[in-house]
């Protein structure tokens, strides 16, 4: 039986210092300020790419990939520390579609042609990548997706519609799930296809969101011609690859670093906002909310550490991933909603989403410009990547066979 050891390996502290110094040297003030003034959840695509390019100079843009494709060979704990340091320093996110989702699918299942075509470009941050899975009629029930790709010689002709395609308007390519065989059971007819978004027949519409942002898109595909060599792996295996992708990074969906950083921002707001001269951090109502969140977040961090250190888990591993996702998304919401609530009446103001459109507001603290917007859009955290209800269903089924 393994012995429990709660100590962090001391060598990791030296690693943390090394990483921190490097980020400090590399992260531009502009990128940092951009993140601090950002009113959405993930970084602006342009900022994400700029940061990818900077990291790539050190060979750190895709640290978790296998070494042969540009990874660093760091351990799970080293990766954890690296990601935490980046987040704490207000570095932009990287392009998740490339680093966490499509990249791993390509290096695991893709042809040499696709590996060469995409992996170096992803690693360098050449362009942004969109994820084209969901459709208007098929969100939770993704397996019945309808966008069809008909094979004709060495091309596919794609027809259909995707929706909620994050940042599609700013992306050069997308990775799509399409139906290549209408005659077999729903999952079996699905394939994984790389599609260039400026191909004739593609129309993209940005969808205005509740927080003034328009990052989500609709992508219409009308007789779009795609070279057959853009198929990843085998025809009909797309569903398997998609499941691999969604399972691949079990702990990222906890948003642990984002949550820690936003809790720190919540505490900063609690120091600044005052009631009758007393900072909210000493106000019983808000202090209680802060401490409850801190307790939940501490539990989440240790849940993530248990996952990373490969604790033998009594239940199905996917159920563990859903646990992190549920706890993490709940915190994304409660922390940002606490920030909003601490602003009191100031939370009512709708600041423009784009910092460039915001007028000088000397009476208003800087954090008021973004807190409400983030709280609003965080409602999406229990919707994207499998809704809260779907995650609960997974736990009931996989952990308890219900």
């Amino acid at each position: 039986m393994a012995i429990m050891n709660f100590e962090l390996d001391p060598a990791l502290e030296a690693f943390r210092q090394e990483v921190r110094a490097a980020i400090d040297a590399d992260l531009t003030l502009e990128l940092k300020a951009g993140m601090q003034a950002y009113a959405g959840s993930q970084a602006e695509p342009d900022d994400a790419l700029t940061w990818m390019r900077i990291l790539n100079k050190r060979g750190w843009s895709v640290p978790h990939w296998p070494i042969e494709y540009g990874g660093t060979g760091w351990s799970a704990m080293q990766l954890y520390i690296f990601n935490e340091e980046c987040c704490n320093a207000w570095a932009p996110d990287t392009c998740w579609g490339e680093t966490q989702m499509c990249g791993p699918v390509i290096y695991t299942f893709g042809s040499d042609y696709l590996k060469e075509k995409f992996l170096p470009a992803f690693r360098r941050g050449d362009y942004y990548l969109a994820q084209g899975f969901s459709e208007p009629g098929n969100g939770s029930d993704l397996a019945r997706l309808r966008t069809a790709a008909r094979r004709e010689g060495n091309i596919y002709i794609v027809n259909g519609q995707k929706i909620w395609t994050s940042s599609a308007y700013a992306s050069k390519w997308g990775f799509f799930l399409v139906r290549t065989d209408p005659n077999v059971k729903s999952q079996a007819g699905i394939s994984f296809l790389m599609i260039k978004l400026d191909t004739p027949g593609i129309t993209i519409r940005r969808i205005p969101q509740l927080n003034g942002e328009a990052d989500l898109c609709e992508v219409f595909l009308d007789n779009v011609v795609v070279p057959a060599e853009n198929l990843i792996g085998e025809e009909g295996k797309g569903w398997t690859y998609a499941k691999f992708l969604l399972d691949h990074e079990r702990t990222t969906s906890s948003f642990i670093f984002f949550n820690k950083r936003e809790l720190a921002r919540a505490k900063m707001i609690a120091q600044n906002e005052a009631q009758d001269g007393e900072p909210l951090i000493r106000n019983p109502h808000f202090r209680s909310r802060l401490l409850r969140i801190e307790a939940e977040l501490t539990a989440l961090e240790w849940s993530v550490l248990r996952e990373l250190s490969h604790e033998d888990f009594k239940y199905d591993a996917t159920a563990a991933a859903s646990t992190l996702k549920i706890a993490g998304s709940r915190l994304q919401q409660s922390i940002n909603e606490l920030q909003m609530d601490m602003l009191g009446a100031k939370a009512m103001r709708a600041f423009p989403f784009d910092p460039a459109d915001r007028e000088d507001a000397p009476l208003w603290p800087g954090y008021a410009e973004t807190a409400t917007s983030r709280a609003l859009v965080m409602r999406a955290a229990t919707i994207y990547g499998g809704t809260l209800q779907i995650q609960k269903g997974i736990i009931a089924k996989l952990a308890f066979d219900l």
Binding site: S134, G137, N138, G139, S140, D141, R144, I163, W164, I207, P208, Q209, L210, L216, E273, A274, Q275, D276, N283, H285, F286, M340, D341, G344, A345, K346, A347, M348, R349, A350, F351, E359, A361, L363, T372, L376, V377, R379, A380, T382, I383, Y384, T387, L388, Q389, K392, G393
Partner: protein
């Protein structure tokens, strides 16, 4: 007790439901964002014609002398359609103050009733949080040739479309409420939109002359406290109406949206969410009635009832409006579906004139 509507209230509600459903469509509300001051002038005239702007004005002063219950009936109908016009500020809070003031106001109440004048309350100041008892840094001074007001106000709801402001001023001992024309010399205003499309402004008053002191000292404090509690009830009614709209929108969506080959309303997990929303909304309307019942009671009784109601309704709103988005999946977070509008509208109503913390503290103090 009789919780059924009177014949007059039934007529008021029928008219309101019919007119507001027709006028305040999602497209229309989104189009109002492009107006300079957020005001739908045509609708405001209709509000006047229908008598809604005279509801809170006593009969003796030319109004309809409606009760808090009447105002709440209309408020819920407004909330149901997410109407973010200056109803509470101009047709509830201001008339409550103006009607109780002895100062000559040049027929302002009549002009409010006719939809010609709109009055905003300028109370909040920088670096404070729901402070309705401490003195103001804004000062009212006798310049020899009349009164002047100087100070900085923040978050003056509905100021951009207002014709007049009621400005609170003076320290603990000489608290006053003063009426000033919104376009008076010395007033500079920085307007901005709120989450629900309503407008507010931060306002600098620099030796603004021509103001009419409406009330001073204890009387001014009492008028403000009364008016705010009426405003809180009117806004609570709008929140309840908005939550009731969420119930209707979501139950329809659960029947219409198909996933896994069936309407999502067939999933028991969603049925239970819908049931939780129903319970919260039902309870919210009930506690709204308890606040209405206490509206004419002494200040201590009333403020206690209002604060309890506002806490319960705020918590109900969080359940109802957030789950309404959840039930809509991705569609819920777009600006193109009703539920996100109701969420934002309810957030604004929840944060006006005191949040949960404010009401908890007010209750702890008694």
């Amino acid at each position: 007790m009789d919780f059924n509507l009177s014949d007059l209230q039934r007529m008021l509600l029928d008219t309101a439901e019919r007119y507001l459903a027709e006028r305040f469509t999602l497209e229309h509300r989104r189009a109002l964002r492009d107006t300079a001051d957020g005001l739908d002038t045509e609708a405001w005239s209709t509000f006047a014609e229908l008598g809604w702007l005279a509801l809170a004005i006593p009969e003796a002063q030319g109004g309809l002398g409606g009760t808090m219950a009447d105002i709440a009936v209309l408020g819920a109908a407004l909330g149901y359609r997410c109407v973010a016009l200056p109803f509470t500020s101009s047709a509830v809070i201001a008339p409550m103050i103006l009607a109780e003031s002895d100062a000559p106001q040049g027929g302002l109440l009549q002009a409010i009733a006719e939809g010609i004048s709109r009055v905003a309350l300028a109370h909040d100041e920088p670096d404070e949080r729901y402070n309705y008892s401490a003195g103001r840094r804004t000062m009212l001074t006798d310049s020899g040739s009349g009164w002047t007001v100087t100070g900085q106000k923040m978050l003056v709801l509905d100021a951009p479309s207002a014709t007049h402001l009621i400005v609170s001023a003076g320290g603990d001992d000489d608290f006053t409420l003063t009426l000033v024309p919104a376009d008076a010399e010395g007033i500079s205003s920085s307007p901005y939109p709120l989450l629900n499309g309503a407008r507010a402004a931060d306002i600098v008053l620099d030796e603004v002359a021509g103001g009419i002191p409406l009330a001073r000292g204890r009387k001014a404090r009492t008028l403000l406290a009364n008016a705010l509690d009426y405003g809180r009830i009117a806004d609570a009614a709008q929140m309840v109406g908005s939550m009731e709209a969420d119930l209707a929108l979501c139950s329809a969506y659960l029947k219409e949206r198909q996933q896994f080959g069936q309407p999502i309303g067939k999933f028991q997990a969603l049925q239970h969410i819908m049931a939780d929303m129903f319970v919260a909304t039902h309870q919210a309307r009930s506690i709204l009635y308890s606040a209405i019942a206490a509206a004419e009671a002494d200040e201590a009784t009333r403020s206690r009832a209002v604060s309890l109601a506002r806490i319960n309704i705020a918590e109900a709103h969080q359940i109802v409006a957030r789950q309404a988005i959840q039930l809509h999946g991705g569609y819920g977070i777009t600006d193109e579906y009703e539920v996100s509008h109701h969420y934002r509208h309810q957030i604004v109503l929840e944060k006006l004139y005191g949040d949960v913390d404010f009401h908890e503290r007010r209750l702890a103090a008694d």
